[in-house]
Structures are given as structure tokens and as C-alpha cells.
Symmetry: C2
Subunit: 346 residues, 2 copies
């Protein structure tokens, strides 16, 4: 096929924002990332950021090409025209495999079934299909779509998800931490102050607002208190070119706090990167809890809890604030993912 012609005719916004048009038709093996997030959840933005670093650091001889979420349909048609036998198709990671975020799950189904003849992977995910009639129906739809693709690997980012994926799909399942934990960022040294509450305002929220108010009042007695979320509300979209900027801004926000209190998995992970003491509460289906238990329990400045007694929490927070933040090394835990992408052509 005439590469130049394809490019001129078909390159709509959101297809390949991260490479030059000519790179789409060079002779490198291609890795396509579908579902690259344009929405303002900085956790999911950080995941896409980490996915790109992961591929570029380990496999610079591949051409890594992103397709933004809003261009999924056009992207599928476009990639079908340029994809070659040994190329790899990816769908971005996160906490959206299941029945809670159907727009994303529908895109994942489309991509997985459209590229059934190609090596395909869903980057590290948490899975949750609701135990309702609708949840079961959606599970069936995902099974039907995924099972069309015999070359599919699913990646679980906690053991709970690993078991669920194994129990739900016939696909190959592997197990690694969340992609953001593969980043090697050394934190900036910013003056710290106050307590930052990073709290969900979505359907996964289970932290009681009365309890939150009580906790904020308690914290406010001795220091300044702010409340925010890792989902930005003041902008509508984050496109590829602005991803790093917003991610680093959020890291600075977390890293300039004395303490973070959150029910967001990625507020916990951003606290780990910035060495910020952090107390973590759960969401509706335990993704922060299980990531903590599976990978992060040895961190002395991060604690997961379901406790709601203020005195007990105060003792916990005291311990976190006094700890000299330690390191854990998860680098080798990404080896299953490295092995997946390893060049198997001879």
C-alpha cells in the first residue's frame, strides 16, 4: 500500500499524535496503543505516560503509535490498513475493565475483536463486573468479544483481578503492578505544608461524607486542609501533548503536602513517587486495597485502612508522619510484561 497516500487521506485528529506521519510507514515493527485517554483523570493519564516510557525504554526498535480514545473507530479502520503480521495491538491500562465504564469497555471489545489475528494485550487493569443482571450481561459481551481473539493477553494489576480474569476469560493472563509504578521519577524537593484530601466524586466512592467532614475538621485544628481529586474538573480534555504537564503538576500538588488522605489508587501511587505520607481508604471494589496488599505493604509511609475511629487514625497518621520514607523495588515485577513484548521473530 502507498504509505504517503494513506497518510494524506486518513490521518484524523487523535490518530498517532505522538509520532511523525512518516513513521507510520517506516519498516519498524509497530506497537499500537488504543484507548489513549483524553479525559481528565490524571491517574489514567499517568498510566498512558508510563506505558509509553516502558515501550520506548525497553524496545526502542519498535514504533510506538497512540490512538486517542475519541478516535477509536477511525483508528481501527486506519490501523487495519497499515498493520503488518508481527505488529502488536495494545489497549491502555487502568481500572475500567468491566461494567462500570461501558464506553471504555465497548472500545476495548471493538479493538480486541477487530485485531483478532494479531498479538494483542490489555495493559495492567483492575476488573469489576457488577453482580447484577446488567453486570452479567456486560460480562457475557466482553467474553464474546475477547474470545474472538486467540492471541490476547490480559494483565492484572492485583491478585484479586488476576483471579477474576482467570475465572472469566479463556485468555492468557499475566500479573504486574500498575504501570505508574514502573516510572523512575525522582521526586522534586518542594516545601511541604498542610493535609491534602484527594477524594472520589464518582460511582466508586464509598467513603461517607459525614466521616470525611469529621476527618477534615480534625485535621484543620492543627494545619491547613485542602480537598481535591485526581480527576480535573476545570478542563474538559487532556490531549497527548499536554499529558506530561498535567501529570507533573499533580505530582507537585501531592508532593507539596505534608500528608495525603485519599480513596484514589493513583493519589496513593503519586504519594509513593513523591515520598508523601499517605493514608488510603477503599473504593467500591477494593482496587486501592488490593494493590496495597499485593505490592506496597512494606512502605512505611503509606497505610491502607478501613478504620473510621478518629483516635485510631490519629495514631496511624502519627506513625506515617514520623517514618523516614523507605523504598521498594518493583522493577523486576514488570518482567512478565517485558517478556510479552520481547521480539519473538527470528
Amino acid at each position: 500500500m502507498d504509505g504517503q497516500k494513506i497518510i494524506a487521506e486518513e490521518l484524523v485528529k487523535g490518530i498517532a499524535p505522538n509520532v511523525d506521519a512518516e513513521d507510520l510507514v517506516n519498516n519498524k515493527r509497530k506497537v499500537f496503543l488504543f484507548g489513549s485517554p483524553s479525559y481528565t483523570n490524571i491517574g489514567d493519564q499517568a498510566i498512558a505516560y508510563a506505558e509509553e516510557k516502558f515501550i520506548r525504554n525497553h524496545f526502542p526498535y519498535y514504533e510506538y503509535i497512540e490512538i486517542m480514545d475519541y478516535a477509536t473507530d477511525e483508528g481501527i479502520e486506519f490501523v487495519k490498513k497499515i498493520i503488518k503480521e508481527n505488529d502488536i495491538v495494545c489497549f491502555t491500562g487502568g481500572g475500567n475493565l468491566g461494567s462500570l465504564y461501558l464506553d471504555i469497555e465497548e472500545d476495548r471489545r471493538k479493538v480486541i475483536s477487530a485485531f483478532k489475528d494479531y498479538k494483542t494485550i490489555s495493559f495492567p487493569q483492575s476488573v469489576h463486573f457488577e453482580d447484577t443482571e446488567e453486570g452479567r450481561l456486560e460480562k457475557k459481551k466482553s467474553q464474546d468479544a475477547y474470545h474472538q481473539n486467540p492471541n490476547l493477553t490480559l494483565v492484572a494489576r492485583e491478585s484479586q483481578t488476576f483471579d477474576r480474569l482467570k475465572g472469566t476469560f479463556d485468555s492468557n493472563v499475566i500479573y504486574t503492578p500498575d504501570m505508574v509504578l514502573s516510572l523512575m521519577i525522582k521526586p522534586r524537593n518542594i516545601q511541604r505544608g498542610g493535609v491534602l484530601f484527594v477524594l472520589r466524586e464518582d460511582k466508586e466512592k464509598v467513603t461517607d461524607e459525614g466521616f470525611v467532614s469529621e476527618l477534615m475538621r480534625w485535621a484543620g485544628k492543627t494545619t491547613s486542609v485542602e480537598r481535591t481529586d485526581t480527576v480535573l474538573r476545570d478542563i474538559d480534555t487532556i490531549d497527548y501533548k499536554d499529558r506530561e504537564k498535567y501529570f507533573l503538576k499533580m505530582l507537585d500538588r501531592i508532593g507539596s503536602s505534608k500528608l495525603v488522605i485519599t480513596d484514589r489508587l493513583h493519589a496513593m501511587i503519586f504519594s509513593i513517587i513523591t515520598k508523601t505520607p499517605c493514608l488510603v481508604f477503599g473504593n467500591s471494589y477494593g482496587k486501592a486495597k488490593h494493590s496495597y496488599r499485593d505490592w506496597l505493604e512494606e512502605l512505611n509511609f503509606i497505610e491502607y485502612t478501613d478504620e473510621q475511629d478518629i483516635d485510631e487514625l490519629e495514631r496511624m497518621i502519627d506513625r506515617l508522619l514520623k517514618a523516614e520514607p523507605n523504598d521498594i523495588d518493583l522493577r523486576n515485577d514488570f518482567k512478565p510484561l517485558e517478556d510479552f513484548f520481547k521480539d519473538d521473530q527470528v
Copy 2:
């Protein structure tokens, strides 16, 4: 200062080829790399490639700006106009600190003395001042230049160099492996064949040509034999934008061989990355030998030798070819360099 005006007036070729012009005047802390190589030594190209990855992976909140070697003088004048108090000045690593490559040593002196009021670093180097009158004169010139800068850190990539730097300069000296060993590239899986001799044709060469011919004849009895060098002769320059391409091409060349025989430090390092059995001979002042002894001795498919007896070498090569290539983990050995760049502003 008016950033836009500066940019329009002064941006000559070779200044900041790796960033957009507007990034030169954003409010990020800047890291300037001087001496970015345009010459065709793929070892030095790989070093610059690894330096950029190192900064971008660990410190994405810095703006990393390269100045090509041929633009050193204009680059110094330009950087003087935009540099701010907490910015960092770097000179690229390699095996050229000393009296052997005076054009580079002169550039390093200029950069180190021009930015004496700024945090300054010379990336991991091997050092060799010849023990001649001229060598001692050049050493004195370097001492005079380096000692103007009280904020200078020198990085040694082997213990021999560490001792020499400590004995020669009053500057802070730290110790890490060669930058290329910080890369995380997973090797391509390419069909292997033949023995590749990668041999110097420069003033550091000590391997006797008679011995080389004997060795090549011996190898040629059972397999195909080729001879090359990590310095390309068929092109004149490699500019920033082509660096990765030529580096990966050399990796493929090494990685498609059954065995590499070399007196080049970076042919050894490229063999490590690509898991290619490799027998290493010395150069004039022991840089491959000392890197091997200090960091790499545990690798079962790489061996350094001064042996010239063919029977002995045959036994050695047999062992290398039979080994299932093992891994060593040098990631933590770069910590002194991470600590240097760590944001120390509060």
C-alpha cells in the same frame, strides 16, 4: 530577558536540536548538555543517547537541552544568556578526558570554566593524560580550567579513573558505570551467524595486526568472519535526530553475530545488551579492562583477556559460546548520579 527575541536571533544549528525553541524560555529548571557528539563513534553516540534517557526518566520536570560539539562556542554564549541560578551544566561522558582527544578536552575546559558559578558535571569518563611533557602540560591546563569551577563534579566510570581524578583534581569525584549500561533495552531476537571482529583503527590501538590476522584465519576455518569498528567511516557526521537510528543499527550488527571479538569498550557493552558472547582485548590505557574488572566480571558470556595463545583463546571462546547468557543488575550503581541531579531547592 526577552526569550522570543533571543531565540530568533541566536539559535544557530547545533544548539538545542532536541527541544522546541519555546522550551528554552519556559519556567522549568534547565539541564544543559555540552559536547553532544556529532562524530561517528557509535560508543559516544550511545552515551549521549543514554544520558538523555537518564535525565528524562528520572527528572522529567527538568528541561534537557543539548548543545552539539560543533556549536560549543556559540552554545556557551547562548546558554550564558538564558541560564538561571539553579540550572545545571553537563559535559558528555566517554573516554576522552585527558590528552588524547584535545579538541574535546579543550571544549570541556571552556564549558567548565565558563559556567563556574553553576552546578556542573562531567558525565562518566575514562581519564588518560599521557606521561610525556605534552601530557603533563595538558594536565596542567585542565587543572587550571577545572579548578576555576568550585561547583564541579567529575564522574569516573572505572576505579582506575576514580583514583586518577582524585589524584589530579580538587573537584568532587563520584563513581558509576558507563552511561550505556544504564539503558534498559531488551535485545531483538535476530538470527545469528559468524564472528564479528570490532577493532580500533586509532591511536588507542594496541592489538597487534599479525595476531589479529592469525585469529581471523583461525575463526574463518569454521564460520564466516567480518571485521568492522564502532566508528563509522562511510558517513561524516551523526546529528541528534539520527542518533537512535545508527545506535540501533550497530546493536543489530553486534546482536546478529555468534561471537564478537573486540578491543572496543562499547562493542563489549553492545554485546552485553544484545546477549552476544564477546571476547575483549585491551586498548592503550586499559579502559575496557578496568570497566570489565570493576563492573562486569560476573557475566558468563563476556571475557576480558590479554592472552594471545590461540589454543588458550579457543578454550575461552568455547566456554563463552556454551554459556546461557546471565544478567547483572547495575541499576543501583547509578544512584550517585541520581543524587547529583536530585532537586535540592526547597
